[in-house]
Symmetry: C2
Subunit: 410 residues, 2 copies
């Protein structure tokens, strides 16, 4: 059983929008053991959509179409689906009344165009959209499935989940996927460490997130779930033995999430003092639900007067060593720990670029500080890439540095 | 003249990797007036690639294939191209010697597999890759062009640029694209405002970023550049007249970038006080290169003791109205303005969720404060979506609120 995804939208072809919906759909289908074997992206053009639908329906068991279900003139998917399947668009009064009710509740001024929401290709079942007005459309015949989804990512995710029961039991195959998340090794270092056992690990994919941050993905397909799980455990043991503490988590684990668990289990609180990352570290930490249990707050000290006035970094240090220096990173981490009364303080100071670099202190140079109760540590790195990449690498490297130091300092 | 892009790679279909190369290729071709009308993504499978190549070569003038040019077993694009075109793979000794020299310089241990780099589909021209070992392959016949590119994004960009001269003068058509960026109107509001002039604006696409933040894209194609520019100006005038101050910028403008320009031109400085956005506002502001000219810093006050102790929010206010309230937003914005000595202070306090909501203060409720010199304003909103969506909407709504208030307060 194989699936083909058809993505509709000029914005995807112009490069304006990245096709994140493809990822969502692929991960959704993987849960049911169904691989996506092809994706075609076409323009908001009725004839184009009809053509690709006809080509695709011949060869694929499952066809998922996304996008073009709004009510503006370039939303033509509804019409294309009906024509490709040789059915009429029927006005579903009951459904439209529901949509209209929701629009009125939201204060939308209802116009004639909104009636498009009530049009349904004949013979299709409606799938509920809890976050938007355009529903999904589902069709099943002779073992073939066609599912049409709205394009906005959060609506697409919601409608897919609402259609989940349609995919259950379609195949006997189970797919077991495990992602091993690592930090601190380059992709080539990982290859070197596992090359003599690679046959036992295959199929294994490696996906670098930033330099030194690599996700490894193990995939197993079979019918006996218990057997698959044992096999997976064997592979994971090999990776744990070879990669050691570079592994920070699995699957949906994130670096700030893992750190949150450590802090919570040890009853510790944390604060941030950021210069070059400009709030990104605090933002990562607070992306974790429940982070208010251990994250008291932070200071973004972009100007030196904030470093000295709020965080208490000494003016002598700032003058003598400069804002981008090891002692400044130390005093920022210790300063914010004292200011907010936390167990841990972490800091960044560096040159995000593209301007501001010098031969001694080039763009990309960042000092990252970690102060845990009485002890303070500093990591110095020079990151490559543009301003946003430097910020991102600095924030993530600091979090991994913290993870490791939390393991050392009791 | 139309182009089709074929992307090769299991990782693209599993959703593991986003197809950023499609964007790069589309933007490259747009420079030459060539639209991408379709993209197909297929697995690392020789037969699949051959099939899609044959289907595509029939209908498209320009076919660009990317990925699968490495030397591991799943890199099969070279072979597929040769077979689809009915030619042999020829070993190019001179070229291989060059590649080998580069590998030795890099300290790569050369093995038999590396010889694959020397294989070239007969009749294809090599395009230089300055950043990697796999070159591009170019073929032109009877007005049709086939270009094969390596998959790693920075290598693909480089090889594309090295092939640029092949695309010059292919069409006389010029493409003029303008993006109009709006904040404050729902997509349906925009439709309502322009529906009577829609024919004069077509083709126009609308792309919601978050609810209330919509990009509009105008596209013009023709041979007379001057005429296109005049036409575009007319369309822009219509949009300006209909959408007014909802338009915050054009093309690459960003909300924090636009605010930065206003602050810089007026010689003003700014500071942030964030609760529920947890550093995201400061992060957006500091994504702008040169933001250190006007952004002094900020405070993330997650715990109430930070709101009172650092920002000076009164305990009475916190007790009586709660942390998520209008007076707290006011005192945070004013407090950080005083603490850091800036002209402007902005604040957020709310419930990002998914927990912590009450009937009176539901998840998604956010107060956003803007304090400009003596005057302070508060915006109250309830955002839908998950934790990250609430943070993002709160941060961007605050920035737009600031943009508007900067226009009012002199």
């Amino acid at each position: 059983m194989k699936a083909v995804v058809i993505s509709v939208g000029d914005e995807l072809l112009s490069g304006r929008t990245l096709n994140t919906n493809l990822r969502t759909i692929a991960e959704f289908l993987a849960r049911f053991g169904i691989p996506v074997v092809r994706n075609c992206t076409v323009r908001d053009d009725v004839e184009e959509i009809i053509k690709i639908m006809r080509e695709t329906l011949e060869s694929a068991d499952i066809v998922i179409v996304s996008g073009g279900l709004g009510i503006t003139v370039d939303d033509v998917t509804r019409e294309a689906i009906a024509r490709a399947m040789g059915v009429e668009l029927v006005f579903d009064e009951d459904f439209y009344n529901e949509v209209e009710k929701r629009m009125l509740e939201r204060g939308v001024k209802v116009t004639e165009e909104h009636k498009k929401y009530g049009l349904v290709p004949a013979g299709f079942e409606l799938i509920k959209n809890d976050y938007g007005l355009a529903p999904g459309y589902f069709y099943e015949k002779d073992g073939k499935i066609l599912l049409v989804l709205p394009g906005p990512p959060h609506e697409l995710r919601n409608v897919l989940e609402n259609a989940a029961e349609k995919f259950e039991g379609l195949t006997k195959k189970k797919v077991l996927v495990k992602t091993v998340k690592t930090f601190g090794l380059k992709e080539s270092d990982i290859v070197e460490r596992i090359k003599d056992v690679i046959e036992e690990l295959k199929p294994i994919g490696s996906y670098p997130i930033i330099p030194g941050m690599v996700d490894l993905r193990l995939t197993l397909v079979g019918e006996d779930e218990e057997k698959l799980e044992k096999e997976m455990e064997k592979k994971l043991d090999i990776l744990r033995e070879r990669l050691g503490d570079a592994i920070y988590g699995y699957d949906d684990d994130t670096l700030p999430g893992v750190i949150g668990k450590i802090l919570r289990s040890r009853g510790m609180t944390i604060a941030t003092a950021e210069s070059c990352t400009g709030g990104l570290v605090a933002n990562y930490i607070t992306d974790v639900s429940g982070s208010s249990d251990y994250f008291k707050g932070g200071v973004v000290s972009y100007w030196n007067e904030v470093k000295s006035g709020v965080l208490g970094v000494s003016d002598v240090i700032l003058e003598h060593f400069g804002a981008v220096s090891e002692p400044t990173a130390v005093m920022m981490a210790e300063g914010v720990r004292k200011l907010l009364g936390t167990d841990v303080g972490i800091s960044t100071t560096g040159i995000a670029g593209p301007t501001g670099g010098t031969p001694e202190k080039p763009v990309g140079l960042v000092y990252m500080g970690v102060s845990i109760r009485g002890k303070t540590f500093v990591l110095r790195k020079i990151f490559k890439g543009d301003r946003l990449m430097v910020k991102k690498q600095a924030a993530l490297n600091l979090l991994d540095f913290l993870r490791r130091k939390l393991g050392e300092v009791q």
